[in-house]
């Protein structure tokens, strides 16, 4: 287990992000008091507003002082802060195994997931993990128990199924499965049908979840540094191409950029955070930058 810790908890990352916090920008439903706005108005220290009494309200919540002044019953409402349910959705499809350098996209993504879950658990939020490819491979429900982190790490270690990606199907399935709204963090290379991805994201949004998409790509996928005759053997049974690589470069980059632009545009439209990640970039820098930016936006 120590080795797993070492593998997924990079001290540099933890050092960098431990001072930060990941807060839900919209209200989330939690079970314990936390950092995030709750949809429930209950007993709390934070006064929210007065509301006219309606039958059924608990009498204990009537503000007697207002009654004394106005001879009308008003209920005193407080804004509740709760902990957040965060769902880490990690793409463990075969395409995530690609890595032009030492780190594959899956490894990088696992590191990211581990770091985030550590951060969330640290701030006493519930954190769950879903690994998926064409279907949900594993589902670890959100817990705020620190011991839950061990389970998450174990799941990350096991997340190497290597099958086709079907994000649409998985996202629809999960959107229905997540009963309470929370923060859905998607870590994937998104290499599947863009329409299905966007429908899936819409579904999450429809269910009032806040969604963050970490789009993890390899540097080689962004630059296509190939020139000579190359046999490209596709992951996820997508076939092979034997060609002089330079002849494909322009078209490939155009297609990739179009795809990324479309994802980004749609994410923006749906108020989904879209964070492109490249595996050769230091995770701590990229993550801290994002978290800092996010804090600034609150």
């Amino acid at each position: 287990m120590t080795q797993v810790y070492k593998k997924y908890l990079d001290p540099r990352v933890l050092n960098r992000v431990s001072a930060l916090e990941l807060k839900a920008r919209q209200v989330v439903e939690g079970i314990i008091t936390g950092l995030h706005k709750s949809p429930y108005h209950g007993i709390s220290v934070e006064f929210a507003e007065h509301r006219e009494y309606v039958p059924g309200d608990e009498i204990k919540h009537i503000d007697w002082r207002v009654y004394a002044r106005s001879d009308r019953f008003f209920i005193k409402q407080y804004e509740e802060e709760t902990n957040m349910r965060c769902y880490l959705l990690l793409d463990s499809s075969e395409s995530m195994l690609y890595g032009s350098n030492k780190t594959s996209k899956l490894e990088y993504s696992s590191l990211l997931a581990a770091s985030l879950s550590y951060l969330l658990l640290q701030q006493r939020d519930s954190c769950g993990l879903v690994t998926f490819d064409s279907e949900i491979r594993n589902y670890l429900p959100p817990r705020n128990n620190p011991k839950h982190f061990n389970l998450i790490l174990r799941e990350l270690e096991l997340a190497k199924n290597g099958a086709k990606t079907d994000i649409g199907k998985v996202f629809h399935d999960l959107a229905e499965r997540f009963k309470k709204r929370g923060l859905v963090i998607i870590i994937s290379d998104l290499l599947c049908d863009v329409e299905k991805i966007l429908l899936g994201l819409s579904h999450f949004k429809h269910k009032k979840h806040e969604v963050i998409v970490f789009h993890v790509l390899d540097r080689a996928e962004l630059t296509f540094p190939f020139e000579d005759m190359t046999l490209f053997k596709g992951y996820e049974e997508k076939g092979d191409i034997l060609a002089e690589a330079w002849t494909l470069k322009q078209g490939y980059l155009e297609n990739l950029n179009n795809f990324m632009a479309e994802i980004k545009r749609n994410c923006l439209g749906k108020r989904v955070d879209y964070v492109p990640m490249v595996t050769d970039e230091p995770l701590e820098l990229k993550l801290s930058k994002y978290l800092t930016t996010r804090i600034g936006r609150r």
Binding site: Y98, K233, G234, Y235, E236, G239, L248, G251, N255, L256
Partner: protein, 716 residues
């Protein structure tokens, strides 16, 4: 339709090399690196989009590469385009071939061990050997004058080859234009599908330049009607010296005074000739030799002084040292050496003492040392006759008659005197006190039909008493004065004349020439060409009463030159050029046993006709340089025939540019010396070689391939 033939078809096997680009392409495709790739959708989409374009580009490049190789192989295998049958380059169905062989004497140049003409004959034989059964052949020589040796096309090629072997080198210049016209006439008559003309020549530059227009016209006449092969024989000339134009310092050559024999030696080479030796041979015996330095392109005279010892016809030649072209190394000459020239002085006022009569000074001039001197130190044998006693016989025994101060002549002597001049002899007239102009004008001028050059007018005296006339103008171009030095002419001009007869000549008469004029513009000496002979009249008398001419030192040479000039009309024109006609009138007595022998000692066949003067022998076959000897019974005569070196001795070769300019634009093939004549003719026959064009096309395709490869491979 245009056909295609290939000279080296076996090389076409190398077309298999065209598969190299394909193999390289395939090999290239086998050498790839393998990459596992996640974002395959984008790649597949990119590939789908560019696949057809890339395939097309690859195909284009591959085709260009393969085509370039095929073109190079094709070019190396030497393909030829065959012209349609109508254009005369068709296959070997039936060919009519005219071989024009240059036999001008420049072809006698020796290069290596053989004469160019022998090599030309070999080439002609080789060409004839390439003909097949059913082909026909004509043979034309291009030496002056072009001649069809085999005019009627012969199918017996072996007989034609024999005729070729018998061809002899000519001694004249080039007549290529004539030969081409002749060939054009010959091919007009033939209906063969394929017609070919072969011109085998040394391409001597002067021949082409001087005949440029004629050759061009002939080529235009032949254009499109036959394939023309110009086969160059011999490399550029290595230099040549030629000797020509032998001349004598005097009209009259005698046995008393040495005569200067001059010839012109020209160096036609590009280097100076430092060790050319010229030798004089008389009657085949070496008399003298001289070493010459002749600059490149220059002509230098070489002079020998020789005193002839035998009277009559003497033959000789000047020979220069050996060079590659031997034909023009000898210049032949014939000279009639005089033993004595009989001069008859007819005195119009004979005196009893020396210098008393009109003939006194003249007799003294012609024989200053007395009668015993004649034939020893003086060639002129002068005799004096009283004008009243002049007879026809006396006239006919002389070569020159001097009429001095004549008032009239016996009637029986007048017609013979006329005939005497017309036969080639001369009359010199001195006017004098007794001169009767009316008589002389009536009897000898006869309205320009007589021997008198002009009408004799009145006496002209000086305006002032005591003043004199003098000679102002002298025609130094006339043979009479041409040999005089300037000092002698000055001396003549200093002569004082106390009076003279006006000489009225017809300026429009081309036979009349004024040789000297007085200071008042009136003629002093007038000459007339009359038949073969000449008459000269001097407007003043031959004594001191009229002028001091007779006591001037130059009077003696003047009189001698006058006698030489007047006696030269009887001399035959014995120095001829190749092709000149020998024409000789002989008396009927001489006509018995006449034989004309050629330089190679063959008896020549001449034409004979009769004229009032006697029998006329005509011979126009002077085609060999050397001596043509005429045997007239016991008398012998000779004619020297020389080459005309003006054009043919210059061995400079015409450049290819001029040949191409003159030749037809199509079907004109120039085969250089040293080239494989047989192969090039085969190429010409089979078609037009296109390998250069193919190679150029291959290079262009390769350049295009490189450009396209760069464009297609431009990595963004």
């Amino acid at each position: 339709m245009f056909g295609l033939s290939i000279l080296n078809p076996f090389l076409l096997f190398f077309c298999a090399l065209a598969s190299i680009p394909v193999l390289i392409h395939m090999f290239h495709r086998l050498r790839f690196k393998e990459v596992r790739w996640a974002a395959m959708d984008f790649l597949l989409k990119a590939q789908k989009k560019s696949k057809s374009l890339l395939k097309l580009r690859h195909l284009i490049l591959l085709l260009l590469r393969c085509l370039s190789i095929v073109l190079i192989v094709f070019a190396v295998s030497q393909p030829l385009i065959k012209a349609p049958p109508g254009l005369g380059l068709a296959g070997r169905s039936s060919t009519y071939c005219v071989i024009i062989i240059d036999n001008s004497y420049s072809m006698g140049e020796k290069q290596g061990n053989a004469q160019l003409f022998d090599r030309a004959k070999e080439k002609a034989a080789d060409i004839a050997g390439m003909l097949k059964t059913g082909d026909s052949l004509s043979l034309v020589t291009a030496g002056w004058k072009a001649r069809a040796v085999i005019g009627e096309p012969t199918y017996q090629l072996s007989a034609a080859k024999q005729e070729l072997r018998n061809l002899k080198l000519g001694n004249a210049g080039n007549d290529l234009g004539g030969a081409l016209h002749l060939a054009a006439e010959l091919i007009k008559k033939k209906n063969e599908v394929s017609k070919e003309i072969y011109i085998i020549t040394d391409c001597q530059a002067t021949a082409f330049r001087t005949e440029e227009k004629d050759i061009k016209n002939a080529f235009e006449e032949l254009s499109g009607k036959a394939a023309i092969f110009l086969v160059k024989t011999g490399a550029a000339g290595s230099g040549n010296n030629a000797v020509a134009n032998v001349s004598f310092s005097r009209e009259l050559v005698d046995m008393i005074m040495p005569v200067r024999i001059t010839a012109e030696v020209t160096n036609y080479g590009k280097k100076d000739s430092l060790d050319c030796i010229a030798s004089l041979y008389i009657e085949d015996k070496l008399k003298d030799s001289k070493r010459l330095l002749i600059r490149s392109g220059k002509t230098e005279p070489v002079a020998f002084y020789h005193k002839f010892t035998d009277s009559g016809i003497n033959t000789g030649y000047i020979e220069i040292s050996a060079d590659p072209l031997m034909k023009d190394n000898r210049a032949y000459f014939c000279v009639n050496v005089k033993g004595a020239v009989p001069v008859l002085i007819v005195d119009g006022k004979p005196g009893k003492k020396r210098f008393e009569g009109e003939s006194g000074f003249l007799s003294f001039v012609f024989s200053p040392f007395g009668p015993e001197d004649i034939g020893k130190r003086n060639v002129i044998s002068a005799s004096v006759k009283d004008f009243r006693l002049l007879s026809a016989d006396a006239v006919n025994q002389a070569k020159v008659v001097v009429l001095s101060n004549i008032s009239f002549l016996p009637e029986e002597a007048v017609p013979p005197l006329d005939s005497f001049v017309r036969a080639g002899n001369g009359v010199l007239i001195f006017a004098g006190d007794l001169t009767n102009p009316q008589y002389l004008n009536t009897r000898f001028y006869r309205e320009k039909s007589g021997i008198l050059p002009c009408v004799i007018g009145e006496k002209v005296a000086p305006v002032k008493e005591g003043s004199t006339f003098f000679i102002e103008k002298v025609n130094t171009e006339h043979p009479l004065f041409s040999k005089f030095k300037e000092s002698e002419i000055k001396e003549l001009k200093k002569t004082r004349f106390s009076g003279f007869y006006e000489l009225k000549y017809d300026a429009a008469d081309p036979s009349v020439t004024v040789l000297a004029s007085f200071n008042n513009g009136m003629p002093a000496i007038v000459a007339k060409k009359c038949g073969k002979g000449n008459t000269i009249i001097i407007a003043t008398g031959a004594n001191r009463r009229w002028s001091d001419l007779v006591i001037k030192p130059m009077f003696l040479p003047f009189m001698y030159e006058a006698v030489y000039f007047l006696s030269s009309g009887t001399e035959e024109r014995r120095n001829l050029k190749i092709g000149d006609k020998i024409s000789r009138t002989i008396s009927f007595l001489e006509a018995q046993g006449v034989r004309l022998m050629t330089p190679d000692n063959r008896q020549a066949v001449y034409r004979s006709s009769i004229s009032p003067e006697g029998r006329v022998l005509d011979f126009d076959g002077t085609d060999e340089p050397g001596f043509y000897r005429l045997q007239l019974g016991e008398k012998n005569d000779a004619y020297a025939v020389n080459l005309d070196t003006k054009y043919e001795s210059d061995t400079e070769r015409v450049d290819r540019a001029l040949l191409q300019k003159l030749g037809p634009k199509e079907k004109f093939f120039i085969i250089e010396e040293g080239a494989d004549t047989r192969q090039l003719i085969t190429q010409g026959r089979k078609g037009i070689g296109i390998w250069k064009e193919l190679l150029l096309l291959a290079v262009l395709l390769l350049a295009l391939e490189s450009y396209l490869a760069y464009r297609f491979g431009k990595r963004t």
